[in-house]
């Protein structure tokens, strides 16, 4: 920095004086602030699109190639496995993307750089700052699922029993799933310190992926009854089963009503806990 140029600037540059303030303050509506917060997150997501796509597509697509393409051709899977797998892969993409797109920024912005501060100073309630994070993560999760769907279908080839004839059910499941996963991501984001990120992936996210009924239908766990009930704590189970119920309903799945109820309860519970913790961290 150059103090000479600064003082020259001060004495000669009259037009660049900082504007004075004698203006009224029109109060801004919460909705307008919310939209501005969301547009900031969308701007950042658009800039990071290549990373977003890699993060979103990589893992599900590797599974699609191995389990949906190679194994069936080798004759290791039964006919109809792909119909159980495809919705599970979409569930996985949706959940991973929703969760990560809120957890990682929250952990760094709260725990490390404190850069969340400028949004906490926005004229809007602290709860709505948190809710905006959930809404943004929902959008990213849904986009991830929409990107993976055609790719997975392309690699797998025709999937018997796959249908778009249950649109209302599909919409309900997708929105509730994105909400549950995003609220869960926010909860992790406000609970975990930057040092615990590695721990979170090995001890929380990875077991969720493998015991989330993404690679096998829940009814398949009839063969291991204790596990069949133990996995019910995992939100991914309901997302996978919900997408099966609406995209490949011929695959045995949980009752639709139970899926919707579980997703709604999880969304409410995660949101409640995440907001409480967010408030605590935001306001000293």
């Amino acid at each position: 920095m150059n103090s000479t140029s600064m003082s020259t600037n001060l004495s000669t540059n009259v037009p660049t004086q900082i504007a004075s303030i004698e203006r009224p303050h029109p109060p801004v509506s919460a909705w307008k602030v919310f939209v501005a917060l969301l547009s900031r997150d969308i701007r950042v997501a658009r800039r990071e699109l290549p990373f977003f796509l890699v993060r979103t597509i990589m893992q599900p697509m590797l599974f699609v190639i191995v389990f949906g393409y190679l194994l069936p051709r080798m004759g290791f899977t039964q006919a109809g496995y792909q119909a159980a797998l495809l919705p599970g892969i979409l569930a996985l993409s949706l959940m991973l993307s929703s969760t990560q797109s809120v957890t990682l920024p929250m952990v760094t912005e709260f725990g490390w750089t404190k850069e969340i501060e400028d949004r906490l100073l926005a004229p809007i309630s602290t709860d709505l700052v948190a809710v905006e994070k959930i809404v943004n993560a929902m959008i990213q999760g849904i986009i991830a699922a929409l990107v993976v769907l055609p790719l997975a279908r392309l690699v797998m080839g025709p999937v018997a029993g796959f249908t778009f004839s249950h649109v209302p059910e599909l919409l309900i499941v997708v929105i509730l799933s994105a909400a549950a996963a995003s609220a869960f991501g926010l909860l992790l984001g406000v609970l975990i310190s930057p040092q615990q990120i590695g721990f979170m992936f090995s001890l929380i996210i990875t077991p969720m992926i493998f015991f989330g009924c993404a690679y096998y239908p829940w009814r398949g766990l009839d063969v291991v009854p204790w596990l069949k009930y133990a996995v019910l704590v995992n939100p991914l189970v309901y997302i996978s089963e919900g997408l099966r119920a609406s995209l490949t309903p011929s695959v045995p799945h949980m009752p639709f009503v139970a899926i919707v109820a579980a997703l709604a309860v999880l969304t409410a519970g995660f949101t409640w806990a995440a907001l409480a913790r967010f408030r605590k961290r935001a306001i000293g």
Binding site: S7, Q17, A19, L37, R40, K114, P123
Partner: protein
């Protein structure tokens, strides 16, 4: 004239934390940060808050900027209660934090534009103000840079631009010159004088006496969460034998500012 800020009996107690088991000794003991602080800042005043580390300066700014909930007492900022009407308070204040905390996912320009949007400033108006502020704060050349590529002093000036873009009536600065070299500090002082000259209310904390002396209309000396003295720098200095604020502080607090 309505006062810009009024606090009455402001208290903040941070609870003990880090207890290994219920009933066991906590790792961090209960801390009383503010012990009944009464302040009145007039509209248009440059108000300095001085005290050593741990005096309660940052907590005071935290409460006044709605980021810290008081344990007791009241605080009114720009006519609104900081607890009951925190959203109204936020609309009317600008805050320059102790350590620059720009939005690192955005460039310098976007930091200003989005911040303005959070306050409902129309986009065209925000762009005009951002251009003006970046130029005035001598960082126009860095507008399109990621903030990580800005020096500490440049980030600090970006924080000032951000705090001003929504045209707040009250500007808070928490130890704004910590870590700045003398050149950067001087140019920041120039900017603060100019803002004050426009009639803006400015509240600034510092533990650097000459800074408070140089800029403030009145200075509040605080230590251990209590107000020790509140007057113009001149009147405070008149009360000491050697005419130094430092001596005055030591006489009042029983310790120096660097303690």
């Amino acid at each position: 004239m309505t006062p810009a800020i009024v606090t009455e009996g402001l208290r903040k107690v941070y609870p003990a934390s880090g207890r290994a088991a219920p009933g066991s000794a906590p790792a961090v003991a209960e801390t009383v940060a503010l012990e009944g602080l009464d302040l009145l800042v007039r509209e248009g005043e440059f108000f300095g808050i001085i005290g050593p580390n741990g005096a309660g300066k940052t907590t005071t700014i935290g409460v006044l900027t709605t980021r810290v909930l008081p344990t007791g007492g009241t605080a009114t900022v720009a006519g609104a209660d900081v607890v009951r009407n925190s959203v109204t308070v936020r609309q009317r204040i600008g805050v320059v934090p102790q350590r620059p905390n720009p939005d690192r996912s955005l460039d310098a320009w976007e930091n200003l534009i989005y911040h303005a949007a959070y306050f409902g400033v129309p986009r065209r108006e925000a762009a005009r103000r951002a251009t003006e502020l970046l130029e005035r704060l001598d960082i126009a050349g860095k507008a399109r840079m990621k903030v990580d590529h800005l020096s500490g002093g440049q980030q600090q000036r970006l924080m000032i631009a951000r705090a001003l873009i929504h045209e707040p009536t009250i500007l808070f600065l928490d130890e704004p010159t910590v870590g700045l070299d003398p050149n950067a500090r001087n140019s920041l002082w120039e900017i603060l004088r100019e803002l004050h000259g426009q009639g803006r209310t400015i509240v600034m904390t510092t533990h650097y006496m000459p800074e408070a002396d140089e800029l403030s209309d009145r200075i509040a000396l605080i230590d251990r969460g209590r107000l020790l003295a509140l007057d113009t720098p001149r009147n405070l200095k008149l009360q000491t034998s050697d005419g130094s604020l430092e001596t005055f502080f030591i006489a009042k607090a029983g310790r120096g500012l660097d303690a």
